[in-house]
Symmetry: C2
Subunit: 268 residues, 2 copies
């Protein structure tokens, strides 16, 4: 099995891929787009990309790709994130801090408190930031402890994220839906007709009345008109469960669009 | 009246502030934090910050500040966003593109198509990007048409955002709730007890059963545990309306927390 993930080595995505399947061959890509493209072009069997962080919220790019492409979510992995400040130089020498926008945002208070008026640059991956940090003692990267080892950087500070509990949920994207495991989740996208008050309420009723547990509900703009939303909903159960199938059949007739992203085992 | 907004001059936030009140004195701040701080420290009477874009979705930083601080939303403004690529150099010379993360994201396809493998840097404001673009012919900024004039840059491309309809909604933050205007919105944050299936459904029922129209519902992580959310809800009506007051009174007893952010006239 070949898994595509965000590279380079040492990234949190690599950690997620290994956590999901430690025997698979890994291929590394520059960004979320390229990782998904690799799956679309059949270079890999699965792609693993981040979808949600416990501090920062959704990775909206991943949500948008799930809407645009015909792919299945085949699994999920939860990884604990510990950000470190890495550099070749000393703390007092740092003039620029680099990382992915999510990491910069997760360490916002730390940066504001310790490095006022510093230059902040976003990169495509935490590992790319680590690589760039090699160029000058004035540069620092926010990245994983593993990246410090991989690139030979000093760890100036550990666990610098603003909240102690920092987890990222990754999804495994593939082409098929795994069979029920006994503890599954199903992900869907629903588009409600605009300006119909109570439409979301009706949809949620189909789940509530059947005792189906929603683990997540997230709105995203349709990108057409301000105030027009798609709803991304995760629910407990497998699409092959009678009760889930019934609820989705009812919902299909009430909404502008229902896209089933897949059913997959809940992350351990 | 003094209004704090994201500077420097030429920013979309300045446009929003002028659209809301074209007679007020404007003070410019570097980022959303500083703009809100100015209000907290009474340097300004109101602060205007972006909260939602029709392509990119919520400005999560603003949502988080609304949760953390005791402030009122006193109004809203909707501004049309037209991104341009600005530079001193020619299209073929560009080696680095700079802008705020939201603008970079809104022009993602344009950048990918026209400037493959280019260096992309995020800045604190579109105007800051324009200023930096003055430093080299190899730099380009994604910013407004007004910024080209303000900083003396060439417009290499116009309307480069991926979707044609691009609007940003700004909120006016103040210390008081304006009286009912006849066409108002109320914004609230609700925290549901974790792991109680159907809780969101019950809340939405209080609105649906009273015919109250929800214009927006958005989930944000509580930043404590993955899968634990706050819901930001906008609804039509004023907190002084009997029907709204009744619904919120009922909801207060059913949720872990209800925060009323304010009632304000709907943007024209």
């Amino acid at each position: 099995m070949i898994i595509g993930t965000l590279g380079p080595q040492g990234s949190f995505s690599e950690k997620a891929a290994k956590q999901w399947n430690d025997k698979a061959e890994l291929r590394y890509y520059d960004d979320i787009f390229d990782t998904v493209d690799a799956l679309l072009h059949k270079e890999v069997d699965y792609s693993i990309v981040p979808i949600e962080n416990s501090i920062e919220g959704s990775i909206t790019l991943t949500l948008d790709i799930l809407m645009e492409q015909q792919l299945k979510i085949s699994g999920e992995v939860i990884v604990q994130i510990e950000h470190c400040l890495l550099s070749k130089g000393k703390r007092s020498e740092i003039k620029r801090i680099m990382s992915i926008p999510q990491a910069l945002s997760q360490c916002r208070k730390y940066i504001k408190k310790n490095f006022n008026n510093i230059e902040v640059h976003s990169t495509l991956s935490t590992s790319q930031a680590a690589k760039l940090a090699l160029e000058s003692k004035e540069f620092a990267a926010i990245a994983s402890r593993e990246s410090a080892r991989t690139y030979g950087l000093n760890i100036l500070d550990e666990n610098i994220q603003d909240a102690n509990e920092n987890f990222t949920r990754f999804i495994v994207i593939g082409r098929t839906t795994p069979k029920p495991s006994g503890n599954d989740k199903t992900s869907i996208i629903v588009y409600l007709e605009k300006n119909r008050p109570g439409a979301l309420y009706e949809i949620l009723g189909e789940f509530a009345n059947r005792g189906i547990d929603l683990t997540r509900i997230e709105s995203r703009p349709t990108k057409k008109v301000l105030g027009d939303y798609l709803f991304y909903i995760d629910l407990k159960g497998h699409i092959e469960d009678r009760i889930i199938k019934d609820a989705l059949d009812k919902i299909k007739n009430k909404v502008g669009m229902l896209k089933i992203l897949g059913s997959y085992p809940v992350a351990k």
